[in-house]
Amino acid sequence: MNYRGPQRVRVSQKPMPEIKHPEDAIVRVTRSCICGSDLHLYNGNVPDTRVGTTFGHEFIGIVEEIGPEVHKLKVGDHVIVPFNISCGKCHFCRQGLYGNCHESNPQATAVGGIFGYSHTAGGFDGGQAEFVRVPYANVGPTVIPPGMDPDDAVLLTDVVPTGYQAAEMGGIQPGDTVVVFGAGPVGIMAARCSWLFGAGRVIVIDQYEYRLEFVRNYAPCEAYNFREMDDPVVFIKKATDWMGADVVIDAVGAEAAGSPLQTITGRKTLIQAGSATALHWAINSVKKGGIVSIVGVYGPTDNLVPIGNVVNKGLTLRANQASVKRLLPRLIEHVQNGVLNPKAMITHRVPLEDAADAYRIFSDKLDNCIKPVLIPPSARI
């Protein structure tokens, strides 16, 4: 997959990736996904997204070659590769902040290295390809447990940990009312995982009926369409006895719809770093003293959010890129025990060669798409 400019991608031959560091591995991809985060790149909203780079931070694959210092993996292992690139040694990795590594991205200090996520996230080519260079192969990659479906495994690279961490950061107390903005894969998983932390009520807000219908059954939870509301904040106030929700999760990020002002300034003209509609609603619909958990991704400049209300309401904001490695052991257990069933979210299996069409389908939410998976030719036989 080869990025050519806003909303233009194609598949073309690129040189085989090489070992550049003693802890590198080369992985032959067996599955890769397109993520809501890729849409920020696809739409040209992430600064320093260079033409010719390959996207893809959600992939699994077979170890093809290892560098001299790789001892935790061997050639032939089928591995889950967390989307964050983490060294395991720096101050942040040692605190479990594997999504905030300080040794994987020279171009920016605010974000750790991420596969296929622009030069602002390290300039690494990603996994929407046949082969990928995987740095720090002793740290992130985890062998897929025997018997696990590759479609479940590929969702453990990002969607499952991100949804889980969204709920975890919500600090949910037993019985809490949790509102999730966004019924994409991340929001769906956040709603599902909110129950694991003891939520008493889970409400999801989106604009697509088919996604609301899915999450209603899958989480299971209440789900409402903001296109049918005069004002989503008032709707949530009413639904929570005029108090606001205990915890609100932003699982939308920079492509948010629902406010023309935010859309024009955040998505069309890039005056702000993405449209902050969902975050705005989150801050205004949470209870005083409540917690807003943000996993929706925004750009690095500024966004229009009612920060004054954060102060006046005494809110706690918690946010991060998911720390995939920290959460993997627990989440693998959940999948193995049937607590979580990630692959049910996969609606489209597309040959890698048709990446441009898959991007269009996922970006425009065509054909009731929830999660598309790209399958390279070598994994189809």
Partner: protein, 179 residues
């Protein structure tokens, strides 16, 4: 992620040291409650929080391509991606952007500009290599035609209307000039 301070007495000694260091500040630390940490379990305290940039760094990946480094860090991270090094006009704009910190518009706005210039450079490169990019295919119009023909038609119409407007404005100006 294991706690690097393994010896609890060392931990205690460190705290006593601190208490002595701040002894001149009345009330220093009297209500400290390390358990009150809203960052847990997102972030584990390691009791090494104040040790700074002191970890044993991983082996440095050889820097054999041009890497633009954030001025908010002293070095190039131990590993980095080598995809698409800066080149051409967009590369020059990117180099300029990296004179500014991540806190400056002077950093991000030129980078967005460079991205747009880069897309044009990409088309020129394609043509130079004798490849006319199939922009329709790249934009996934086949999928759109299949699943949302109305949306595609609207896009085409809006595009055509915009092109027509521009054309009319340009030709009208031409007439004005003639007058």
């Amino acid at each position: 992620m294991e706690n690097p301070v393994k010896d609890p007495t060392a931990d205690l000694a460190q705290k006593t040291d601190l208490a002595q260091k701040y002894a001149h500040i009345k009330g220093w630390g009297i209500d400290a409650d390390p358990k009150n940490d809203p960052t847990y379990p997102i972030k584990h305290r390691t009791d090494a929080e104040q040790t700074g940039y002191s970890w044993e760094r991983p082996t440095q990946q050889p820097v054999d391509t041009e890497i633009l480094r954030s001025i908010e860090r002293p070095n190039i991270s131990a590993v980095f991606g080598t995809s698409s090094p800066p080149s051409g006009l967009s590369g020059a704009i990117r180099r300029y952007a990296f004179k500014y910190s991540e806190s400056e518009y002077g950093h991000w706005l030129p980078l967005i500009l460079a991205d747009r210039v880069n897309a044009v450079e990409g088309i020129i490169d394609d043509i130079k290599q004798g490849h006319i990019p199939n922009i329709f295919a790249e934009r996934g119009w086949k999928a759109q035609w299949q699943h949302n023909p109305k949306g595609l038609a609207r896009k085409v119409l809006i595009g055509a209307a915009a092109a027509l407007t521009v054309y009319m404005l340009v030709t009208r100006n031409d007439n004005d000039d003639d007058d």
